[in-house]
Symmetry: none
Subunit: 247 residues, 2 copies
DNA sequence: TATTATAACATGTAATAACAAGTATATTTT
DNA sequence: AAAATATACTTGTTATTACATGTTATAATA
């Protein structure tokens, strides 16, 4: 099935379709690291689109770090650095269990609410749409380590009501609800614990916590889950590797 | 001085000039958080450029997290966090300057010491080998944001003595000493500020700080530089994206 | 042979045009 | 007055065209 035909069916913008095709090729290894990819003109011919459309796809790939460009030389596949690192989108148990830790969770609250402005924005909700809020405390070897507050659009959140929420939610989403998870945007910040968090974690108000915000999308880039995770500072360390030799 | 005139002088692409103007306005607070900015048409008229140029500037600002858009509604300034998106193996200036921030540094101390066990291990030093310790305070728009403590093997550290250490060290290493930097291993942690750090950063003892440890290697995997960076919690946010679809 | 133009091709920037699609407001209809 | 509709916005997508600028390989020249 060609791109042109698919356009009518999927209603996906052309540049996104092209981006996906190229991305798959890069990840599959059709272009090895630092190998030159077809030029923009060649892609125009191949996909039968204008240069602006090709470039929009390339720009997306560039900002994802999958390619880099050199004026006059061409466009190159970069070493997929995301993959080399242990940076996948895991839930708490998924990450901890293989390391021999005992994990558990306690459900604090589960309700339909009118979320704040930033949650609405992140989840792409209209002004009157509501969200489902889930608050849980996570334990590691029976010590509380984090307070997790998750927001779902109601269409997903309602399906979670009958489920056992004392376990990881990501496997629920993937296995029970059949949602294929894709990218997640994460930010880390050091903050002081407020009264509620301090209470749940058994620490003093004002103690340092690692404040993690995570916006998880499905494979079609629709936002699925927006979370605040408040980790006890002494229980969380985030490690990663970067490579200056890459563009 | 109009944009058009500046073009001839600065030889900067129009969209970058526009981007800088808008960015300054946002950081200065001309648009409060979540306030609607002028529409694309209005910007076209104001800057006397085509829509494609305006959009290119906006796209850059969007990917830096300074604005967000809503189809049919408009373009909005997002909350101005002092530091957005610090990709680290950049030095501090490298990361901040292109974003239009004013950076500076103050050298606190520079000496040869017998380092602690963990520094020796990280740098691969024998028991009797010494190291050079550099302590600096970094400023962003004249506000202190971090206390950086760096350790170098003496063979490298001694070459740094005559250099100006109120600037980034990484460019010194690469350009002056001819060391090609490679991978860096980094960890992030939320901690409480001790007395020394609190003093330098002008915050209360016990305030949350982002504690960053960074071990930088050259391209041949030899350890070059081990650092502790203590960032004021309200001035540092680390962002990244991960992809569950990848292995 | 070594050097210098030059042509061919790569990405970068910019203008103009048109239509799609989401949102808000004013207008008409019920 | 309430509901439906029109219309005047907004950003989103795409095509066409043109020239600028950087790179490479080939051909002309010293």
């Amino acid at each position: 099935m060609s791109l042109v035909e698919r356009k009518k069916i999927s209603h996906q913008p052309l540049y996104l379709q092209i981006k996906e095709v190229l991305k798959e090729q890069i990840l599959k290894g059709d272009f090895s690291p630092y190998e030159r990819m077809p030029s923009e003109s060649e892609m125009m011919a191949k996909f039968k689109v204008s240069r602006i459309t090709v470039r929009q796809a390339l720009k997306d790939l560039h900002s994802e770090g999958l390619i880099f460009t050199a004026q006059g030389k061409g466009t190159f596949a970069s070493k997929p650095k995301a993959m080399q690192e242990v940076e996948y989108l895991e839930g708490f148990e998924e990450a901890m269990n293989p390391k021999g830790y005992e994990t558990s969770a306690r459900l604090i609250s589960l309700k339909e609410i009118n979320p704040g402005q930033s949650v609405k924005e992140q989840l792409g909700l209209s002004q009157k749409e509501k969200a489902v809020e889930i608050v849980r405390v996570r334990y590691l070897n029976r010590e509380p380590v984090s307070v997790d507050t998750s927001y779902f659009p109601v269409r997903i959140g309602h399906k979670l009501f009958p489920k056992n929420l004392e376990k990881d939610i990501f496997p629920l989403l993937e296995n029970d609800l059949g949602i294929a998870l894709g990218k997640a945007r994460i930010s880390l910040e050091a903050r002081a614990a407020d009264a509620a968090i301090a209470l749940h974690l058994g620490i003093e108000v004002g103690s340092p916590i690692m404040w993690v915000e995570r916006l998880t999308h499905d494979r079609d880039e629709n936002p699925i889950d927006y979370e605040y995770l408040a980790f006890r500072g002494d229980a969380y360390k985030y490690r990663f590797t970067i490579d200056r030799t890459l563009p």
